[in-house]
Symmetry: C2
Subunit: 715 residues, 2 copies
């Protein structure tokens, strides 16, 4: 008895004094990646939901790096069943990441609850991929491998015992009083009894991101055809309509690599049968095979919610959640039994007849549509854990259907999370703000995901063209006409410009494909923020907007600093500065170092803010000094495996340039067994003399290029 | 060993199969109030944080009533440390409550996370008083006595095993497909291992509300002066400025009962010293006493965050949270030691020199200002529990300072919660939408709180007057000029109208005071929704707005039904229909039964929608048939204890009318010992003959009225 009283007393003390935070113990798990286990982490987490296997070779190639923070400044405590984490933050650091944000790039000063959800217009942590990963401008990264709703105080919480306390001012009289005092920490609250922490060394922020992506298994490498042009047809389009659509593209000379079928391919949807509608699609196999002959693939929309009329309804019922979504059962795909049934249904009569991939809708939110947090799943995973991982698991297990066929897929998904970088899916949503789409593209590079600023419909031909221009400089060039039925030529006055843009997309395929290879093998995000670009000075051209003094309505008024979120980097060399509807001109920040016009090769500026008036037809694009862009002819479809295409290597500026041109069969996973090549391109200019070269692919390795020519873009 | 393995196995089974929900066991704890204890509830909850003691006599007077729901339809389960609750919901029920919402009255279909916070423009559960109480149109109420962030699915979650399943339709082809299928339950998720549930019987929704308020101890009874007129002066006003302000009111003939001093009374603020600024207030006691002689009281603004320069800083330090707010320590006022120091400081040199009360600011949110959820409090209560109860505790312990002096107080607070109905505070905030202020006034009656649509500043004299008109028909008639420095006469062209309105407020004091007595003794909210009014048909005049078909931007489009949230009931007999800036006319729904114009006594309508064009000077107000409004002369200050005033009893319509006129000394808590009177007023009209009477106060009981006259308003 005495002992148990003592035990209770010490427990009581523990609860009361557990604020005495502990510095966690970190172990290096990969070069430059350090892991600590806090408390008793959930068995089910982001990395194992995603099935992530670190790309060890890539991490080894990056080399070792020491622990990037002062370990004593990191603390972790488990109190009352929750995990409290603290990471240091110095005065000058900026923070990036915390998932796919749509309106902000700078995350310092934010309070977020990371929660998979449909983006609802506010960067509050609820988004399609709320990756619990952040990277600091000081050159390190932090990832929390936990499938919970994590609350993050990104430099907002102020501790009473801080060693670097904020200055205390009197609001009555001191004009320098601030509504948000200085905070020297990132703090997190995890509603679980533990978590795994990963710290990524730099020395640069890009290094930390690369290590994060490589821990995920490296970024995804889409099939070559995935980087062509995609058309998603109106939702009730039938087989004849699909054939007609493909023919129209061919006849009009617009590139097309895959067609997406929307809900109407299924006999019923919302909830879904996962079964072809026999009226609209009497012979799906014949259609798919006929399209494949034309080098056009088909991709199928679905959400995972099982209709009472689905063939799998009865067999999957025991493996579904307590609550329904749109009256459909929610398969507990963390259970092997449920997966066998559910993904078996997606395979039979779809993958096995040649369907190239899926678009997996509505695995994100909003709360009013998805399963509630009170839902019970038969695996015992909570509704919260399932919400944080459902999109990851959908991606993983559909990818596995293709992997076992040694066939690559490339699809769309509405939710992802940490651990999913290697899964070949692009995130999309129902939001439709062009500017915010670009911010999402920027933030995708901090979140280990891909994002498409898809084009759906437009009020004017100007908007149509402007959206299209940024769309072709993104991971998936696509029109999603599920509702509108739009085509590339829907606005006749810009139909030709759209065709030129789609052709440009095809011409740049060697560049995009090589950049995705770098995402895979090196972890470098193909689309990313200017802030990761050496020589970019984020204070250039920045506007500090002082809010109007109106204490009646805004008693804690403060100034708002505007971030640069309307230009981004695409691959190694390109700076993209989209134009938005209504704009005739815009400013562009050119980082330090010379930059050249993508179209003309002319010098554009060096470490300065320029103003351009490009006209309606052009999206401003700039190439770094020494930049090399490999291009092919504008084919209507991506080259097939072993098909050789001409290669034009464009060179910009004056500095010696190098480029690693990637090549493989473009369709299989043979690259995982070494069946690929990187060919070194070099161009130098000295005393007006130009030297250019490209190395050969090693014997027996892929070689897709013939008639290789160099084009000097800058005179 | 075998046993512990068995134990672990059974635990595992328990986790997996605990979805088998249990019907909780309810015990009647008061007449018509039933309580169930689920799992292991927190020791620290809303009712005990508020110090609520049920007003048993009032509940007994209401009489017994049976359990209002089918007990088998209620389920409660504790899984993985969280509590899952489910309550039934029939097809036709509407739900009200879930705290102080600002934009909606109907809560069915909502998903809310009840969380004390600054209202940020969306009814999502984050508000100043997120009371976990709802009332059904079917006539029962449900209260969760738990200081956690409770997630509520108010008729949104759909169970796979529902006995009343929603109809399954095909979205591909069926035009009746709905994005939100029918749900037959209110479900809640509580992040704790248990909770206390209270069910309140009807038979009417008003009965359930009354029982809830009486469980809280009955609604608060303000001092009589609290119902007069209040001016909060500009934040840096000094003693001379306060004296001048009072004199200006006197000279110009505007009523004034108390003046609020804003942050500048303290030597430093944000964080606070809780100490008079000796420059601006060299002799606070002399000022307070001088003002009291003029029958004007002083109320002090504060927030609870302790400046390093506060006299109590060092002594309170051990009893404060790990994190600061505006660099101020956060006292853990759940600890007696912290309370002694903190409330001792609020008492000494303030309450004890005659300060009449406090305005307790910033105990609500937002997250970026308040302590973070990672804060640790020395009591061991979590930051979440402290967030949900801090406002309650501030109200409770300041009230106790006054209660021990047998002196009533009436103040302002920015946060409250379930359990706080008896605490004499009115909620205010920084939001400033006149329409939404009225919605909040309506919802306050469902949440056991009071709310003031305070007037701060206005862009035009029209806005000033319109805001003022609804302000005087609210719990606290007040100008909050902390920033603007506005006065009632700031807009000269409406200064006279404002004076008339302030005078009307004073004239109606006997009515307001009696209505608050009914709040206290009977639990009837003085300000409340039309939906609680018999004969109100909420479908009258309702507009169903079909959203525009734009699947590009709103793929799950649905119709939105507009609620009536621009008119409300004030006390037993009055219907208030505020006018908003820019309106010249408006529609008003008059419930079944005759209604008469408050100003003229003329018949206005009966169970119909009328349109009125009242002009700028008038706010439309209607009196129920047989309505009796007791009024006094427009004094400049509330009558003092034992001061007798003339009484004019206005009678409207034709039906026999009755009224319970309340009386006590208006200042002390002697009413708690029975030192009060209810006097029965009766008026009948028969065959043109009018009979009117008022009963006498019992011998020795308060009697504040002389020269009692009756005025027949309707000819």
């Amino acid at each position: 008895m005495h002992r148990s009283i003592l035990f209770i007393c010490s427990l009581f003390l523990c609860l009361n004094y557990s604020a005495q935070a502990q510095a966690p113990t970190f172990t290096q798990v990969e070069p430059g990646i350090f892991k600590a286990i806090i408390g008793k982490p959930d068995n089910f987490n982001l990395l194992n939901a995603a099935g992530a296997i670190p790309y060890h070779a890539g991490l080894v190639e990056m080399g070792n790096a020491g622990f990037p923070l002062n370990k004593a400044d990191i603390s972790a405590t488990v109190v009352n069943g929750k995990t409290y984490l603290r990471f240091p933050l110095t005065r000058t650091e900026q923070l990036y990441g915390f998932g796919l944000n749509f309106q902000t790039v700078y995350q310092r000063g934010k309070i977020l609850t990371l929660h998979v959800d449909n983006y609802a217009g506010k960067d509050n942590g609820r988004t399609h991929a709320p990756t619990p990963f952040y990277v600091s401008s000081s050159g390190y990264g932090v990832f929390i491998n936990c499938a919970r709703y994590i609350t993050v105080y990104a430099g907002t919480a102020v501790r009473a015992d801080s060693k670097t306390p904020a200055e205390v001012l009197d609001r009555n009289t001191d004009k320098n009083w601030k509504s948000h005092p200085y905070s020297d920490a990132v703090e997190m609250l995890i509603p679980a009894e533990g978590a795994e922490i990963y710290i990524f060394a730099g020395p640069t922020p890009m290094d930390a991101i690369r290590r994060y992506n490589l821990l995920n298994g490296g970024g995804c490498l889409p099939p070559r055809w995935g980087l062509g042009f995609t058309q998603r047809v109106q939702r009730l389009t039938d087989a004849a309509g699909v054939t007609a659509e493909a023919k129209a593209f061919e006849d009009k000379g617009y590139p097309l690599d895959f067609i997406g079928l929307e809900p109407g391919w299924q006999s019923k949807s919302y909830p879904c049968t996962f079964d072809w509608d026999k009226t609209r699609f009497p012979d799906p196999k014949a259609l798919v095979q006929d399209m494949l002959k034309k080098n056009i693939r088909l991709n199928l929309w679905t959400n995972p919610y099982v209709s009472p009329e689905a063939p799998i309804y009865k067999t999957i019922l025991p493996y579904t959640a307590s609550h329904t979504v749109w009256n459909g059962l929610v398969p507990d795909i963390s259970l092997p039994k449920a997966r066998d049934i559910f993904f078996g249904q997606l395979e039979t009569g779809k993958v096995d007849i040649g369907i190239s991939g899926y678009k997996m809708d509505e695995v994100d939110g909003g709360d009013g549509y998805l399963w509630p947090d009170v839902a019970i799943f038969p695996s015992g995973h909570t509704a919260e854990q399932m919400r944080q991982t459902y999109g990851l698991m959908m991606q993983r297990y559909v990818t596995e259907l293709y992997h076992k066929r040694n066939q690559r897929t490339f699809g769309l998904v509405r939710a992802s999370n940490g651990g999913g970088a290697s899964l070949p899916y692009v995130i999309y949503n129902d939001y439709y703000n062009h500017q915010d789409f670009i911010t999402a593209l920027i933030n995708s590079g901090f979140a280990g995901v891909l994002w498409t600023p898809e084009v759906r419909a437009s009020k004017t031909s100007e908007e149509w063209l402007r959206r299209f221009q940024s769309n072709i400089f993104s991971p998936m060039a696509m029109i999603n006409a599920w509702s509108s039925g739009t085509k590339p030529w829907t606005f006749p006055d810009v139909a030709e410009q759209v065709k030129q843009l789609a052709n440009l997309r095809m011409q740049m395929m060697p560049y995009w494909y090589s950049e995705f290879a770098k995402y895979h093998f090196q972890g470098i995000p193909p689309f990313r923020a200017m802030n990761l670009e050496p020589g970019f000075n984020s204070t250039q051209g920045i506007k500090v907007v002082q809010t109007k003094t109106n204490l009646e309505e805004n008693p804690y008024e403060e100034s708002v600093s505007k971030e640069i979120k309307d230009q981004y980097m695409a691959g190694e060399y390109l700076l993209i500065a989209p134009m938005f509807t209504g704009q005739n001109s815009r400013t562009i920040i050119l980082p330090k170092g010379k930059w050249f016009d993508f179209y003309t090769g002319k010098f554009a500026g060096d470490g300065e803010v320029i103003t351009v008036t490009p006209g309606l037809d052009k999206i401003p694009v700039y190439v770094k000094d020494g930049g090399i862009i490999p291009m092919m002819p504008p084919l209507l479809h991506a080259p097939k495996a072993n098909q050789q295409v001409d290669l034009e290597i464009r060179y910009y500026g004056n500095k010696p340039g190098t480029y690693n041109l990637y090549d493989d069969d473009g369709e299989t996973f043979n690259y995982e067994k070494g069946d690929y090549s990187f060919r070194q391109i070099k161009v130098t200019k000295q005393n007006g003399k130009i030297t250019s070269s490209i190395s050969n692919a090693a014997p027996g390795k892929p070689n897709s290029f013939k008639n290789i020519t160099f084009k000097m873009m800058t005179e």
